[in-house]
Assembly symmetry: C2
Homo-oligomer: 371 residues x 2
Amino acid sequence: MAMQCSSFNFGVECTDQAARCGRFQTAHGAVDTPIFMPVGTQATVKAMSPEVLKMVGSQIVLSNTYHLHMRPGEDLIAALGGLHAFMAWDGPILTDSGGYQVFSLAKLMKISDDGIRFASHLDGSRHLLTPEKAIEIQEVLGSDIMMCLDECVAHPSTREYVETSVKRTSLWAQRCLSARKSRNALFGIIQGGVYPDLRIQSAAEITSLGFDGIAVGGLSVGEGHDMMMDVLDVTVPHIPAEKPRYLMGVGTPKDIVEAVWRGVDMFDCVLPTRNARNGMLFTRNGRITLKQARYKQEQAPPDEHCSCYTCRNFSLAYLRHLYISREILGSILNTIHNLHFYLELMSDIRHSIKEKRFDTLRKQVKEMYDD
Amino acid sequence: MAMQCSSFNFGVECTDQAARCGRFQTAHGAVDTPIFMPVGTQATVKAMSPEVLKMVGSQIVLSNTYHLHMRPGEDLIAALGGLHAFMAWDGPILTDSGGYQVFSLAKLMKISDDGIRFASHLDGSRHLLTPEKAIEIQEVLGSDIMMCLDECVAHPSTREYVETSVKRTSLWAQRCLSARKSRNALFGIIQGGVYPDLRIQSAAEITSLGFDGIAVGGLSVGEGHDMMMDVLDVTVPHIPAEKPRYLMGVGTPKDIVEAVWRGVDMFDCVLPTRNARNGMLFTRNGRITLKQARYKQEQAPPDEHCSCYTCRNFSLAYLRHLYISREILGSILNTIHNLHFYLELMSDIRHSIKEKRFDTLRKQVKEMYDD
């Protein structure tokens, strides 16, 4: 189906039951899996310079096609040397298809097998996003890993509607593959809501098409942790072991270890960065909400055993002061800590898989983050 | 008058006509003058980590006593090891007295020779700021250079009112000196509005008291560049050459070179940091307003000859995108550039004074920034 083979390759290096350690190679460098991808919606991970992103251990970032298409537009970015040059990030970039943001942000006009008609959330201008257009935009941006346009249905949705969307997602997946002109990697996306047989059907159809990687979409949309895991339980075994598996838009530390336990390799989520700006910190001892008065005079850093810039230099009292005073530095320092936490968690996960002790780490993380 | 001598010392190392190069020593390190002090109002220079502040060349920062007294309070800061430890800035810190912010931000209740009664801009709570209290707060904060409480009058003010305020400022200056219990440096402040004889009278009174440095206050309050220079022309010659001279709250690049030309050694201003957040960049080729459509596709950085992190990595098109998209990284990158510009300007000024060619630099800067 694909017009060209991509330069992408992935290999599993070791396993611990279903959990795997691997590595994939892109034109902008290699990435060790399981990996978390910080979200850089508008060609910037909020409050982070590329230098600081590297410092906290980021190997790859995700950027949002919908946002970049709306502003400043992929042609402008291409004229400036592509997305990597534009945002001065020389590591790998994964872009989504734009579909999810059209569903969640834009004013939806009409969805059909042709594509999605919508009005921009910025200026109301009307657009049509087709599978071909989604690929074209991502190729113009110069993404290392492109995602297929899919239909992400709300939860709950009727079985009938999910059936239609699974069919449409498969149709669009083929059109995306056919539309690819570059050697950029392209991942297919499995849909199917919370219906086991539809997930299995979608997995069969998507994995048959020859994608570089396979994503599980349509989760973390309100179905809850347990149902998410149920869906992974039925879906992941139907994804060939030699393909990287990407759980889109997930999640909490608990979601991540449980998904890795089921064989997932890649994650992205706004949680560490958004929560940082809202004064919430992830630590090995659980969550910290800076608003709480208990931190007013707290001389200790968020985590005394954390080696991040924030924990090495600042007290909770200072971080609380910055948060209460709405200082930009608060967002910066909290984001540094939370991304460092997430990326170190992934590093710990990789090490524990290599040493066949991932189950212990998984249980520790679950205990710490029961919600 | 002073209860103790401070550990502060200053020496002029060379001159170029009235302009001087010098160096002062504090408990937290030495500072080369002429110097610009980035403003860290709420115990943070907005959008800058201490690490980045160092990277852009900051030698000393200013923090605002009024803001810190209101929130989180000097006692909390002291309990956390003082202002340096609290904000993780190990270089020198100058604090103002809090008076100016009481005049400009708080709801003023009453000013008398006793002090200033006011209501907090945060919660309306009532406070009395006296000369003794201003020193006490600054000592509790652990400031390296403290400022006297003075009365900064509006422009224009009647001669009669300015006379009263000059008298009060001298009275308060003596009380501040008497109140000092620490070895922290203490600077007196000359007032006198735009009345030459009152400036001379204030200079005579303040310089007679044995301060570690002398500030010129009550300028940059709407009188304009030319009148500001007129006031410096009559005032600076009355400040002993062996004292550092600090022009408070100033200013534009043009203000700074003209004030250095008249013998001023120290400056602080929110201009580079505030303008950065508003999308305005200072460059050797003049000002850049990122909002302008002309930068939409501009591949060049703000200044191709600038060595700052921002100019080494990002295009004007990207900075414009961040500004238009209200991204925090825009504030960070613009602040890095503007502070680097200001601090490099000060470095250029020092070198040109040493090489007796400051007048040429001054004229270049004036030509570039005629407003």
